[in-house]
Symmetry: C2
């Protein structure tokens, strides 16, 4: 598997080990990871640090040109908030582990010109399937339901 | 003026005093402010804590039902990221100080059924006009340009 999706899965597993939502993400600029993150709802009580947001935050303040040459990897289809962050910073390409557990705002991203690649990866799917089964209340909270 | 927009302006002015981007926001549930925030790019080096996100974060983890009965007040038109957060949590109504300095994703919010009220408030406009004049690089960074 792609080394960057592998790194996003490592982040998702960290989240699982910490008792959190097992979603991970990395931001990659010119073949180098500049930010890594995972969902922080349970760990830090955060309602904004989804995995993608955490990866962006860990990457720190970057010039617009960096975002525009970056690829965001995420183990799960990006929700409307994370999709909005992708659009704000003009990230042109997103690689998605899976979209079966949750279909994010892929249609809007596509309509706005973002290139999406969905891997339908079994590890990503299994992490989420187990989590949703074991912690449905936390999962629903995380997607505003 | 509406007491809640006034509270958002107080937040924006705090941001200005701290040397940051002067945008403020409050989240109001059934007539009571449950979260207050302002842009944290300069102060905390955050790329995700726009004012609206900071207000959501300060409100903490809330049940879906609370967001769906809440109103978000923001001194400036919400960018794609903040608009996405509004959609994720199903906040039905947004009151916006002004949209002249920056037009956010109002069309998308409207298309998704969110009620928007734009006040075109002179205080909100003046805060941003001065800031954009004095710190154009910080402003452009904040909107991914």
């Amino acid at each position: 598997m792609d080394e960057f999706m592998q790194a996003a899965i490592v982040e998702a597993k960290k989240g699982m080990t910490e008792g959190g939502v097992p979603i991970g993400s990395v931001l990659v600029h010119k073949g180098r990871i500049i930010g890594r993150g995972h969902n922080q709802r349970q760990q830090r009580g955060s309602v904004v640090l989804h995995a993608e947001m955490d990866a962006l935050e860990q990457a720190g303040r970057q010039p617009a040109a960096v975002y525009r040459q970056s690829v965001l990897y995420t183990t799960l289809s990006p929700c409307p908030m994370c999709s909005g962050a992708i659009l704000l910073y003009g990230i042109p390409r997103v690689v998605i582990g899976e979209s079966r557990t949750f279909m994010g705002d892929e249609a809007h991203l596509h309509a706005c010109g973002v290139t999406l690649e969905v891997l339908d990866d079994p590890t990503c799917r299994e992490l989420m399937a187990r989590f949703v089964r074991e912690h449905p209340e936390l999962w629903h909270e995380d997607i505003g339901e």
